[in-house]
Subunit: 171 residues, 2 copies
Amino acid sequence: MPEPDLRALAERLQEICLAAGLTVATAESCTGGRISDALTDVAGASGYLRGGVVAYSDHAKKAVLGVPASVIGQHGAVSAQVASAMASGARERLGADLAVAVTGIAGPSGATVGKPVGLTYVAVADAAGIDLRRFTWHGDRGSNKAASARAALELLVERAAVIAGRDRDPR
Amino acid sequence: MPEPDLRALAERLQEICLAAGLTVATAESCTGGRISDALTDVAGASGYLRGGVVAYSDHAKKAVLGVPASVIGQHGAVSAQVASAMASGARERLGADLAVAVTGIAGPSGATVGKPVGLTYVAVADAAGIDLRRFTWHGDRGSNKAASARAALELLVERAAVIAGRDRDPR
């Protein structure tokens, strides 16, 4: 079972999306499915959730999400550029209004020069473009995964609320 | 955090796959990412897990996993045929030795004539073909999801152990 705060965020997202007719997709690397698991714990999630991709290998990022090999080669799998490309790819391939992507180093191994364990990028793609956030968590693998999932859902709820508000009151 | 038994199954799977050099992919409908979340809770999962697809809509099953629209149309999204096609599609698209797929009705809604809440198909695709199991759970949404994830991991561990044993002792 996901943490209580993930459940509350999932319920809030579903409420916003069902009311505004928005659809959602996920693209998860270090969170490994934690986000979509939390979303699908709420009955009625199929009303707005198109699906997700757990892109746990470079092959999956390229083959299933269409992340260019050159972007991974140049910036590394844990980078702002790859997070953005994962979000755009999930949004397009799953046909959703919003897509959230997470790529990071959950630990305990995986750190490289300039990229410590805990480094995580979260991106949300929507029709207006990409919103991106960067975090460095300092917990163990379990708490880093949970923190990344929570941060991703928070950004997704924030963007969904903005889009729902704009659609309601166009200027 | 996943249930303790999912954790134990994930550790067992990782041990078998890393020792035998086997790779794994997932294709989840009703479990919504619970399986890949459990697998990625174990440090070192990136050594054998290619990735997964959460196919929560017919669109995702078709566009990302290559399940033929005719198979969904003829048998329904919750069917042995769709579970098999999801497993084959995930295995091929994610380039894995084994892929597990789950499709079912977690509830509380979604039941149709002849397909009660709790009906779940689990399939594992490997080079030898498809292994398929059918269950009908009688819990609530949460416990049905957990039971489906557990059954899927059990079949996956079973098949991985058979393949690892055969590779070790070819006759």
